[in-house]
């Protein structure tokens, strides 16, 4: 079927790409259905609202820029998906892109979890206090690069 999307205009999507958030995303509680769409380049995915073409979130796997990233959420947060974290759950961070694209950041405080089998999803809250809402992706990557240089 064809849907209107924020990043790419009208495109063809498959029902398999549909993801349901029983409780919505924090601040967008009433909007429950989205499609996961690969970005054209780079390590991103779009979470496109099925209902509102102008609403889409950009997602990234945090391990792309932070190798040591560890998902830490309470089981209560993910009860609608699975009893506990397991391999059926995919996790992502929502990306914020400001005017200056060098300041692109990822929100590790409110990870998005998707059960790839049931296609249900939630926004959980990180149990790790070191994970905030703004991790500057390019800065994190530079850190990683310099660590690599130092160690070898």
């Amino acid at each position: 079927m064809k849907i209107r999307t924020k990043p790419y205009g009208e495109i063809e999507v498959d029902e398999k790409q549909r993801v349901h958030f029983p409780e919505g995303i924090i601040g967008f509680e009433g909007i429950r259905d989205y499609y996961m769409i690969d970005s054209k380049e780079g390590p991103f995915y779009w979470l496109q609202s099925a209902e509102y073409p102008e609403l889409a979130f950009l997602l990234v796997n945090p391990r792309v820029f932070m190798e040591e990233y560890r998902l830490a959420v309470r089981n209560a947060d993910i009860q609608s998906l699975a009893p506990e974290i397991d391999t059926d759950l995919l996790d992502f961070a929502i990306v914020t892109v400001p005017e200056d694209p060098d300041k692109i950041s990822a929100n590790l405080m409110g990870p998005i979890l998707i059960n790839r089998k049931t296609k249900t999803a939630v926004q959980a809250i990180s149990e790790n206090d070191e994970y905030g809402v703004k991790h500057y992706i390019l800065e994190e990557m530079k850190k990683r690069k310099s660590q690599l240089v130092e160690t070898g």
Partner: protein, 79 residues
């Protein structure tokens, strides 16, 4: 809003499954213990508000900036 006065180690029940106990009072800080079923989410309110603000910012992303960020990654991430 319902306002109740509690002393140290006293509790309130919310429904029959959620119990909130005053565990410690130290100056301006009150430590609460919360007993709740495992499907009840318990978080500090300011964390919700912080995430909500960030989500709203993230949703304002302009479609034109997509090409720019993808280009950025092409240059900086892929060799």
């Amino acid at each position: 809003m319902l306002v109740l006065t509690r002393k140290l180690n006293e509790s309130i029940m919310i429904g029959d499954a959620v119990e909130v106990t005053v565990v410690e009072v130290k100056g301006e800080q009150v430590k609460l213990g919360i007993r709740a079923p495992k499907d009840v989410k318990v978080h500090r309110k300011e964390i919700y508000i912080t995430i909500q603000r960030e989500n709203i910012d993230a949703s304002k992303l302009a479609p034109e900036s997509v090409d720019r960020i993808e280009g950025l990654f092409k240059k900086k991430i892929l060799p």
